[in-house]
């Protein structure tokens, strides 16, 4: 099993590299905390807003996250990336990895010309784009997990309440961040991917057999 210290290290190293690559325009320091019951946790904020923010419109939630600085990285297009992991007795019990794109680009409206000529922005300035919030959640709690309707590791698109696309295992920070860069900042990724440290470790598979018969996602399997 991957220890939490390695996860923390990945986040730290990749945050610096994302800043250096100029894709990340603001960031917060992750913290590693331990509490009673042998629980260890990585997150950026003292407060967990995930339940409080459940029933409010996306734009309002986004504003709240920006104001309270509840994110690991804020990308050049305003999108927020958050990574949190919780371990109990050295085992991963839950994680939440999210990518929340900005609902509106105020500065872009003020000075659009600034952004048209910069290739870093070419992915995100396309007029046809509809931004989609993306979340990878992992919950090893035996009470909530349920084959097919609540996969242990799942992908939620667009904040749809019952969208839980099964995923074969929990994602490491490296796997998640590269997935986001490759697909949503692809111009930058092509240019910069050699600069990122590669972390080739992974979490154990947790998918239920009956889920394998559905359309699902596999986390990376490394050959060496």
């Amino acid at each position: 099993m991957l220890p939490i210290s390695k996860i923390y290290k990945q986040i730290e190293v990749l945050t610096v590299q994302l800043i250096e690559s100029s894709l990340c325009e603001a960031q917060n320091f992750p913290s590693l905390k331990s509490s009673s019951g042998n629980i260890e946790e990585i997150s950026v904020s003292h407060n967990d807003y995930s339940i409080f923010l459940k029933n409010i419109p996306y734009s309002e939630m986004f504003r709240q996250l920006v104001e309270t600085k509840t994110y690991n990285m804020k990308m050049i297009d305003g999108a927020l990336i958050s990574l949190s992991y919780r371990f109990k007795q050295k085992c991963l019990i839950s994680s939440r990895l999210s990518f929340f794109p900005s609902p509106d680009l105020e500065a872009f409206q003020n000075e659009p010309d600034l952004y048209f000529d910069d290739e870093l922005y070419s992915d995100i300035m396309d007029k046809r784009i509809v931004t989609v919030p993306i979340r990878f959640d992992y919950d090893a709690n035996e009470k909530t997990q349920k084959p097919i309707t609540h996969p242990i590791s799942h992908l939620t698109l667009g904040q749809y309440k019952n969208c839980r696309i099964p995923v074969s295992a929990a994602l490491t920070p490296y796997q998640f961040l590269m997935f986001i860069l490759m697909n949503f900042y692809s111009n930058a990724y092509v240019k910069l991917n050699s600069k990122f440290t590669k972390f080739k470790n992974c979490f154990n598979s947790t998918i239920f057999d009956e889920e394998r018969e559905l359309l699902h996602m596999n986390t990376p399997i490394y050959r060496s």
């Binding site: 603001a26 960031q27 900005s102 910069d118």
Partner: protein, 718 residues
């Protein structure tokens, strides 16, 4: 002589009479305010018709009566007014002695239209023009040592503090301590600013001032003041930068509540963006409203850009809307435009056309946002001529007792004198070495030399005339001394060069660390500016990564960050920005990095020098200009000359012909234009070479072409 400040009033006749009384009686002193102040009470707004403060008499409230009817309860109104003013003044400790207010308050009911004044109670004076003197003679005040405090209380208009930060200071010598003292000194409005707020013109009014002269706050308070006096008026406040909206709303709201104890009526007082979009409410805008009211096709940014290109799509669509409107619906009673330098004249005209008579348009702008030229043409040009050929708007020379139409806020509170002069000297290239074969190194110059006076310079030596030598300096009046006295000159401004990128980045990161750890600055007191917008994202990244490793948070201004969110209280993060996003922002400590890019260039000299000017003028207290290599050393040498000239501008004013040449050579060019010029230059060089060594002959080029070329060259020589 009483100084008269004319606000807006519902009692114009009586006000005029009162003003002329004070104009005639020039033995009296002090300040007379018409239509000011408004006092917030438990029953809402309580407007005072007129108020006179004088060292001999104390404070005199005038209740004005327009017609011939004197209400029976005029004495109640006098009691009311006096009580309300007293209650307000008692809030100021500097006017109190223990529990006693040291200012004498008198009330007079002034009814100039009433010819026969009935007998009245001694306690409740009622008079017309002929009896006013007898009443005033009886007033006296023997504690005139409180006069200065009284004046500043009345002038301060508002107790609004502009986003003052809480600082916990331990070391009284630290930068943080100096900064706190600075912030305290600029908390109140000065005399000119408060006049600009109150004075209301029945027509067009223009407010000019450098960045940091308080234009936005004056405009916001003015809007609130007009709304408080005339809640039924339709008033619009408009601007270019969307994020200003929040700032305006907050300023107006706070001030309005302070003055009236009520919330503004946002239906009548609209804070709307210049452009606007469909969708109603928050998305509304001036141009959008104009189109909707007059049934004209609306264009959004994208379609306007497609149609008219990037240079000025908004100006073009405003022109188009104006030309298509058959008869324009006049909707507003007053419109206030901030950042007018960001608009083309056609937008100002569009606003003007939307106003009912008497066209109360107030526009504020920074003459110097762009060093090249006056940023807006004269009002005669902007607003055009009426059918008889006379200009629709022109600013008459101001008579003393009339509200000023053309206001200059000459005090710059943002930049210290040395920093501002340095920014101007480098921006204009005053001490730049002349390029080969040239007489002067100037990069750009104002078309009208009088502009130098308008922006707060005085002639120290010589003549401010075309072709003459002149030495210009800033005075205490235009650049308050306290802005530079807090630190030594070599700490106010530092220029420094490095051998390579990494050395520069390391130095900046370490300085920031020191500022935060030892100098009691807060992260949001610091901004780092990279002047070249194209390299910003790449070049700020390594410094930010270093800071992150020091455990210091930082961010760059991106597409969704609004400046006010950016510098929100409690934002524990150092801001990094390119030059465009830096516009309108300020910070105590400013680092300009990679400044070598602003020294020299074969194209766009004016553009890069403007970048440097903008970057330096973001600083409220300290400025660090750093860069790499030979060009940076050139820039340092240029700064050294500014310093050697004791922060004056010493130069020979270029002639008209020299200015024209400067403007062509240094004009802004797009990438495409630059490519075209380089290509043509190359072609021409090879053509000349081929002609010279006989590879081709002039005859090959065709007689017609050669003749045309000859005409062009001759025309230029003449």
């Amino acid at each position: 002589m009483v100084k008269i400040i004319t606000g807006t009033t519902n009692k114009p006749m009586a006000s005029e009479q009162l003003k002329s009384y004070f104009h005639v009686h020039n033995e009296l002193t002090g300040y007379l305010y018409i239509g000011y102040p408004i006092i917030g009470t438990v029953n809402g707004a309580y407007p005072i018709d007129a108020l006179w403060v004088s060292p001999e008499k104390g404070l005199v409230i005038f209740n004005l009566i327009e017609g011939k009817d004197i209400a029976d309860d005029y004495n109640d109104a006098q009691d009311d007014g006096a009580n309300k003013v007293e209650a307000k003044l008692k809030g100021y400790k500097q006017l109190m002695q223990k529990r006693r207010l040291c200012v004498k308050i008198f009330v007079v009911t002034f009814a100039p239209a009433v010819t026969r004044i009935p007998d009245f109670d001694e306690d409740y004076p009622l008079c017309n023009e002929s009896t006013l003197s007898t009443v005033i003679d009886k007033f006296s005040w023997d504690e005139s040592e409180y006069y200065e405090s009284l004046v500043s209380v009345i002038q301060a208009i508002s107790t609004i503090r502009k986003g003052k930060k809480r600082r916990s200071i331990i070391n009284p010598e630290s930068r943080g301590a100096k900064l706190r003292a600075l912030e305290d000194s600029i908390a109140n409005l000065d005399n000119r600013q408060s006049r600009a707020v109150i004075e209301t013109v029945e027509g067009v009014q223009r407010i000019r001032g450098l960045a940091g002269s308080g234009k936005t706050i004056v405009l916001a308070l003015k809007a609130a003041y007009l709304h408080a006096q005339h809640p039924e008026w339709k008033i619009a406040v408009t601007f270019n930068t969307r994020s200003l909206k929040g700032q305006f709303r907050q300023l107006i709201n706070t001030f309005y509540i302070e003055q009236t104890n009520e919330e503004p009526d946002w239906d009548n007082l609209q804070i709307i963006h210049a452009w606007g979009a469909p969708g109603g409410g928050e998305r509304n805008g001036m141009y959008y409203t104009f189109c909707a009211l007059n049934n004209i096709e609306y264009s959004d940014y994208m379609s306007a850009r497609k149609k008219y290109g990037v240079s000025d799509p908004f100006g073009e669509i405003c022109n188009k809307a104006l030309s298509e409107a058959a008869s324009i619906k006049q909707t507003y009673d007053a419109i206030l435009i901030d950042e007018a330098q960001d608009f083309s004249p056609s937008f100002l005209l569009l606003c003007y056309e939307m106003l009912c008579h008497p066209k109360r348009l107030v526009y504020a702008y920074d003459e110097l946002q762009n060093l090249r030229s006056q940023s807006l043409p004269s009002p005669e040009v902007i607003f055009g001529t009426s059918s008889d050929g006379t200009p629709r708007v022109n600013f008459n020379t101001t008579e003393e007792e009339k509200p000023q139409q053309d206001i200059i806020l000459e005090k710059c509170y943002r930049n210290s004198r040395p920093a501002l002069v340095t920014a101007h000297a480098l921006g204009f290239g005053i001490y730049r070495d002349p390029p080969d074969g040239k007489e002067s190194g100037l990069v750009q110059m104002f078309e009208h030399n009088s502009l130098w006076n308008d922006i707060g310079y005085e002639i120290a030596k010589g003549n401010l005339e075309d072709g003459k030598c002149v030495s210009l300096k800033r005075t205490n009046q235009s650049s308050p001394e306290f802005l530079e006295k807090h630190s030594k000159i070599d700490d106010l401004i530092v220029f420094k060069d490095f051998d390579n990128q990494n050395a520069q980045d390391t130095w900046v990161a370490e300085q920031i660390k020191y500022d935060l750890e030892h100098e009691e600055l807060r992260p949001d007191d610091i901004i780092v500016i990279n002047p070249n917008p194209l390299t910003t994202k790449k070049l700020v990244a390594p410094i930010r990564a270093k800071l992150y490793q020091y455990g210091i948070d930082s961010h760059t201004a991106g597409v969704d960050t609004a400046p006010d969110v950016f510098f929100a209280n409690g934002n524990e993060s150092v801001a990094f920005t390119g030059i465009y996003r830096a516009k309108g922002n300020e910070a105590a400590m400013v680092y300009v990095i990679n400044a070598q890019s602003c020294y020299n260039s074969s194209f766009d000299m004016a553009t890069i020098r403007n970048q440097l000017f903008t970057a330096i003028t973001r600083s409220k207290a300290w400025i660090r200009v750093v860069g790499i290599g030979e060009n940076m050393r050139g820039l340092i040498a240029e700064y050294q000359k500014v310093k050697d000239h004791n922060f004056t501008l010493d130069f020979k004013y270029p002639t008209k012909a020299q200015r024209d040449l400067m403007n062509i050579v240094n004009r802004d060019m797009s990438e495409a234009e630059k490519n075209r010029v380089s290509k043509s230059k190359g072609n021409l060089a090879s053509l000349i070479e081929e002609l010279e060594n006989g590879q081709i002959y002039l005859e090959d080029l065709g007689r017609d072409q050669v003749a045309r070329l000859r005409t062009l060259l001759q025309a230029k020589e003449e």
